[in-house]
């Protein structure tokens, strides 16, 4: 018998690559390769999800990753993260003020009238989820004129630059605790491992690049009863945040560009934090790259739950920093789930040895049944 075990690994991998590409291009002559512009614009929420979970604001590379990974969000975010590993950290951004965001959408479910007004913006929240058959065979002409017509109806002067923040109004009324200036430097999860207990900034950074579905599942457990945050959305905003960096020569902050992001602040039931003073509402904060509302809301709820758990000890999984923060990363969890597909011949051999030995021992200790001569 020849050496059968696992020969030919290299050729098998090449074959797998070729098969993947064959499936990507199987439309043949009728097919049109996806352009990165098409992905970035027409699949903008997919791109949003990938830059957010990849932890790298690079919509162009995200579009490429989506194309290369054939639409798999976990794999695409993973490719962005791996690309990030090759880049040194050159600078730490100073604190950015999200009140300066150029908004495309902002709502509050706490107040009917908020300073600056509600702005529904691009959302499918109230759309009927009926299949739009007209999109199935869309004509390029109609497609191209759509955005132009939309903007024609809006005078440029009607587009305000920024809006005041709802939580500032709540603070002014004494319903939320006053902001404390912290001198603590933000925890950089890309340069430091999480060794528990971790500061809140480490939790926020971990959740900001967490996998959307994982965050949602744990936040939902809190909403349903494994927890008691009972949030109200003070404000949810989506827009472009100007990124201010110190000028290399003068040191003055200058706008280096802008990033699309989603921010959510939830207000939760009131507490009297230290037993003295006036009780106030509590706040949960969520923010991430891209347009990902469910993620930002889930993160805000979990931030609130984790703050409670960090103070009083966890009463349920969503309040346990170790449980939440070590299980929400898509790259980690997806990688480990996939690794079970690799060969485990040696460990399984070892497992069989234990089982057989245990079975033998049991068979020896049991008196044989009469008539059983096998």
């Amino acid at each position: 018998m020849g050496y059968v075990a696992i020969k030919g690994g290299g050729r098998a991998i090449q074959g797998a690559d070729a098969a993947l590409d064959a499936l990507r291009t199987r439309e043949g002559e009728q097919g049109t390769p996806l352009s990165l512009d098409t992905i970035e614009n027409q699949l903008r929420l997919l791109t949003s999800r990938v830059i957010s979970e990849g932890g790298l604001y690079h919509p162009r590379l995200a579009a490429l990753a989506i194309k290369q990974m054939q639409g798999d969000t976990l794999e695409a975010a993973f490719a962005l993260r791996a690309y990030r590993s090759t880049k040194p950290r050159l600078l730490q951004t100073p604190v950015q003020n999200t009140a300066n965001m150029r908004l495309i959408r902002r709502i509050s479910s706490a107040f009917k009238d908020i300073p600056g007004g509600q702005m529904l913006g691009p959302t499918p929240d109230y759309a009927l989820r009926l299949m739009r058959m007209d999109l199935a065979d869309e004509s390029p002409e109609a497609f191209r004129s759509m955005a132009q017509r939309f903007l024609d109806d809006v005078p440029a002067s009607d587009l305000p630059d920024s809006f005041p923040k709802v939580v500032d109004a709540l603070r002014a009324e004494g319903l939320l605790p006053a902001l404390e200036n912290t001198t603590q430097e933000a925890f950089d999860i890309t340069r430091e491992p999480l060794v528990f207990p971790v500061p809140r900034s480490a939790a926020l950074a971990t959740m900001a690049r967490a996998e959307t579905g994982s965050l949602l599942a744990i936040a939902y457990s809190n909403m349903r009863g494994y927890g008691d945050v009972h949030p109200t959305i003070a404000e949810l905003r989506v827009g472009y945040l100007p990124v201010m960096l110190p000028h290399p020569v003068t040191g003055e902050p200058v706008e280096a560009g802008e990033v699309l992001m989603t921010e959510c602040e939830v207000v939760a039931m009131y507490e009297n934090e230290d037993g003295s003073g006036t009780p106030t509402f509590t706040l949960g904060y969520g923010a991430c790259f891209g347009h990902n509302e469910v993620k930002a809301i889930s993160m805000a709820i979990l931030d609130r739950a984790l703050q409670k758990g960090m103070r009083d000890g966890p009463g349920n999984p969503s309040e346990d920093p170790e449980f939440v923060l070590l299980h929400v990363d898509g790259v980690d969890s997806m990688g480990f789930a996939s690794h079970y597909k690799m060969p485990h011949y040696v460990t399984f051999q070892s497992d069989m040895d234990r089982l057989r030995t245990t079975q033998q021992k049991q068979a020896q200790s049991e008196p044989s049944t009469p008539g059983d001569c096998a």
Binding site: R60, E322, T347, Q349, T357
Partner: protein
């Protein structure tokens, strides 16, 4: 994003060793700490690698931080150089580390990255063995919280682990841990030696080579320095038992290919349903076969 921005299609190849230099320096510092405190799980900011978490990213970061031109690397998975994952990792190092040689021969390698096995041939002081680790903490089977496990390690409190072994004996008359057998290093820290079989545990004890263990997903590095004690956790009256390869007549099964009776064997079932046994370490098997052909005893 600026619509005029186009991706560089001719971007120069990745830097030597893929990781940026700061990352490699950080890994090297963590390695030094791990060697200074044998068996201690040193936390480090593990980077994402371009292969899945769980596919050896921890081991790979150690390899990339240590390797330089002039080194010879051997990569094995399940004992074999030609396993898909070993091929993939070796190819990646060849791609990102120009000037590095690779070899399938244990004796030729200065650096050996392995998953699930320690080579049969005893290692030399000039060699470094890197093991890929899925679960760095042996206490995880008795305690889910990492912060509580950290305290238990610090206090050398392995009572719950010993209780688990005792309960095994009560229930099954046998310790049921098959691989990843808890092993005490230098008389203090108990490590998860990675999913090597129990057969390989003795190779860690007083090994002449440095053994480094890297867990990428769990962000830990730990070490068994050369000439260090490594003892599996057992009771005085219950001997440690390695995988049993004796046949029904009580003889040690030989490898069906090279006839060695000393190596860890893979059990293979062929198309007719017959079971065969073969060395798991492919380089050992080839060498043993070559020596048998020339009439030499290994």
């Amino acid at each position: 994003m600026n619509p005029l921005y186009t991706l560089p299609v001719d971007e120069p190849a990745y830097s030597f060793g893929f990781l940026d230099e700061y990352a490699k320096r950080e890994v090297r510092r963590s390695i030094l700490k791990a060697i200074c405190i044998p068996g201690y799980q040193t936390p480090y900011a593990s980077r994402e690698m371009p292969m899945g978490r769980g596919f050896g990213t921890g081991g790979l970061q150690l390899t990339l931080a240590l390797i330089g031109p002039g080194d010879t690397l051997k990569v094995i998975d399940q004992g074999a150089d030609d396993s898909v994952n070993a091929v993939n990792l070796r190819h990646f190092v060849e791609l990102t580390c120009p000037g590095v040689d690779t070899s399938e021969h244990t004796a030729e390698a200065s650096l050996i990255q392995s998953r699930h096995r320690i080579p049969e041939r005893p290692l030399e002081p000039s060699q470094v063995l890197v093991l890929q680790v899925p679960y760095p903490d042996p206490l995880v089977i008795v305690e889910a919280s990492e912060s509580r496990r950290k305290v238990m390690h610090g206090e050398g409190d392995y009572s719950r682990l010993l209780t688990k072994l005792y309960e095994d004996i009560v229930q099954f008359d046998e310790i049921t841990i098959a691989h990843r057998y808890p092993t005490r290093i230098n008389g203090h820290y108990v490590i998860d030696p990675s999913p090597i079989p129990r057969f390989d545990i003795s190779k860690l004890h007083q090994s002449r080579a440095l053994t480094l263990l890297g867990a990428g997903r769990e962000k830990k590095i730990y070490a068994v320095p050369p000439y260090t004690n490594a003892a599996p956790l057992v009771f005085d009256d219950v001997p440690f038992r390695v995988e049993d390869f004796t046949d029904d007549d009580g003889h040690r099964r030989p490898c069906g290919r090279c006839a060695s009776r000393e190596s860890f064997l893979d059990e293979i079932i062929d198309d007719s349903g017959t079971r065969h046994w073969q060395c798991s370490d492919s380089d050992y098997c080839n060498e043993h076969l070559a020596q048998a052909d020339t009439g030499e005893r290994p």
